[in-house]
């Protein structure tokens, strides 16, 4: 499959990655090359094959409903590029 410049722009916007106009073409070429690898799969008959989501055929282990206090919230806040009054700050979002 070949990806075009508009495909690259759309998927980059969906993933919130700014791609400069001058880089769009090169990215489209690189991604098209990668998607070229995938063509092999289309030839394989997988009609009765169950999708494999996980390497081990296990089921979830559940945890008892016990609350533990959050002791490090102060530390977590210090990791933030912009936090104030216990809140993370982001540019104004209009509801």
């Amino acid at each position: 499959m070949t990806l075009h410049n508009d495909d690259v722009r759309a998927i980059a916007a969906l993933n919130r990655i700014r791609i400069e106009d001058r880089d769009v073409e090169a990215t489209a070429v690189a991604l098209s090359g990668i998607f070229g690898l995938f063509d092999a799969l289309a030839q394989v008959d997988t009609t009765d094959v169950k999708p494999m989501a996980h390497p081990l055929d296990l089921v979830a282990r559940l945890r008892p409903d016990r609350a533990e206090p959050v002791t490090q919230s102060g530390t977590y806040q210090t990791l933030a590029p912009d936090a104030d009054d216990g809140l993370y700050r982001v540019p104004k979002v209009i509801g």
């Binding site: 759309a10 916007a13 969906l14 919130r16 989501a53 996980h54 081990l56 296990l58 089921v59 979830a60 282990r61 559940l62 945890r63 008892p64 409903d65 016990r66 609350a67 533990e68 206090p69 959050v70 490090q72 919230s73 977590y76 806040q77 990791l79 912009d82 104030d84 009054d85 216990g86 809140l87 993370y88 700050r89 982001v90 540019p91 104004k92 979002v93 209009i94 509801g95």
Partner: protein, 484 residues
């Protein structure tokens, strides 16, 4: 005037916040109202390297919910990731369920506008709540509080079976009652524990294709739900009748104006890129697990209302009102038991007190039944004394008010202290009767002339003379005996 042939088609998606101690995938507490971000653990803020682990009680609650709506429980349900970027969604995806939700295919029978209708429930899936964006926290920035992030939710999706705003509200109320009974949700709508999204469309006639629908989000009261749906129905009919088309969009209800308005539309179409969360494995629920939860189910509201009608000889409306939440039902049963051991006779007067006087006190004071100023046992004691003719209904209201005001511990104590016991001494009553008959010769004449209704006036006068303590039935009998 809109054309009467328009038919609304309504489906509700209700987010039910589960009453667990800890979050769905982390051990952080779920308590409401803590300082911002003080209940957001490393998992909740999505630090690099952290992993989710499923809370067992969340699964149990979902199974109970599924059983209560007669649904199928999925033996291997799967959590998936739903991707979108928003600052109150720390991972950039919400862990939810898509292809294999834990509950599918249930229903709820709903009475509204004089008919009972079965509303289908397509599915109920588990997911985590997002945090909160506080748009007014700073002058030029939005503040993000992640305390709510990771709080467990059931999203219950109805079929588009609902045909009016009143029916929608009745369905939502029924579901609200149910989750309270199951003990899986505190039902606190002001705190967002029970949030309703309404999908509304209209069509010409009952057999047409569905029209384009809008989704009105996060309605947090039943009254607003009715208002929002009615507004939306009228708006859509107006648009269509004036030749316009309905845009599929998300809308918000503005309670101040009583109208819905479109949310600012996102620049791009949603593409949530769901896929099974590789950090979590399928949730296995065995037949034994389901049986175990079935045995632990409490008596559900519909069954309880039926039993109240039968055992307490209640009218359907009274039984429904008393079973609206488990606390009211328990209050009623405790009070009736305290009133004596004849539920069939004592149920109705007890119900009348609760649905009448007590309801208006609670309403006036803004209290819940759990905060009622008069305890169930106290009310039962009062009903008991009316039933055994110790006091009249009129005196009973005085005693009720005194109990509400905290002026005595029991009805008996108040009756005793204030000397409110009915006069059962026939001689004493006869004295009052003779006095009243002598003072009202005109009414006595009217009675004798066949206007028997006037006896009510004479009884009233005797009651007044006895300061309400005579037994009105006895007084009535005495008067009739004397002048008839």
């Amino acid at each position: 005037m809109p054309d009467a042939s328009w038919q609304p088609v309504i489906g509700l998606e209700i987010h039910i916040q589960l009453a667990t101690a800890s979050k769905i995938f982390s051990s952080a507490p779920t308590a409401y109202g803590a300082a911002p971000n003080s209940q957001a653990s490393a998992v909740d803020i999505a630090l690099p390297g952290v992993l989710p682990v499923i809370n067992a009680d969340v699964i149990r609650m979902a199974v109970r919910f599924g059983l209560a709506i007669d649904a199928e429980i999925t033996p291997n349900s799967v959590f998936e990731r739903k991707h979108y970027f928003y600052p109150d969604l720390p991972k950039g995806y919400q862990i939810s369920q898509l292809a294999l939700p834990i509950v599918t295919g249930g229903h709820l029978d709903v009475a509204a506008e004089d008919q009972t209708q079965r509303i289908g429930i397509t599915r109920a899936h588990l997911e985590e709540d997002a945090g909160k964006s506080l748009h007014d926290a700073f002058d030029n920035a939005t503040g993000i509080d992640l305390n709510r992030a990771g709080t467990p939710l059931i999203e219950c999706v109805s079929q588009p079976d609902i045909r009016s705003a009143a029916q929608a509200a009745a369905y939502a109320k029924r579901l609200h009652t149910l989750v309270r009974y199951l003990g899986i949700c505190d039902g606190n709508m002001a705190e967002g524990s029970f949030r309703i999204d309404a999908n509304v469309s209209v069509r010409r006639g009952a057999t047409d294709e569905f029209g384009t629908r809008t989704e009105t989000k996060n309605v947090n009261s039943f009254r607003f739900l009715e208002q929002a749906i009615n507004y939306e129905i009228e708006r859509q009919i107006d648009v269509l009748e004036s030749g316009g088309t309905i845009t599929q969009e998300t809308r918000l209800f503005d309670p101040d104006r009583g109208e819905t308005r479109a949310m600012r539309s996102k620049e791009e179409a949603h593409d949530y890129r769901y896929f099974p969360d590789p950090d979590l494995l399928p949730v296995a629920i065995t037949a034994d697990d389901i049986e175990y939860e079935r045995c632990r189910l409490p008596e559900l509201p519909a069954a309880k209302a039926k039993r109240f009608e039968r055992d307490y000889a209640l009218a359907t409306a009274d039984a429904n009102a008393l079973t609206v939440n488990p606390e009211t039902a328990d209050y009623f049963e405790t009070a009736t038991a305290a009133a004596g051991d004849d539920p069939a006779a004592l149920g109705r007067p007890t119900a009348n007190w609760i649905n009448g006087e007590l309801a208006s006190v609670l309403n006036r004071e803004g209290l819940t039944i759990a905060e009622a100023p008069i305890r169930a046992g106290q009310l039962g004691g009062l009903v008991h004394r009316v039933a055994d003719d110790t006091i009249s209904g009129k005196i009973a209201k005085q005693v009720f008010d005194a109990l509400v005001a905290g002026e005595g511990e029991t009805a008996d104590a108040i009756i005793e202290a204030r000397g409110l016991k009915q006069i059962t001494d026939t001689n004493e009553i006869a004295g009052y009767v003779d006095q009243v008959l002598a003072e009202n010769p005109e009414q006595v004449e009217q009675y004798r002339a066949g206007k028997t209704k006037v006896v009510g006036y004479l009884v009233g006068q005797v009651m007044k003379a006895s300061a309400g303590q005579a037994n009105p039935k006895e007084v009535n009998q005495l008067i009739v005996d004397k002048i008839g």
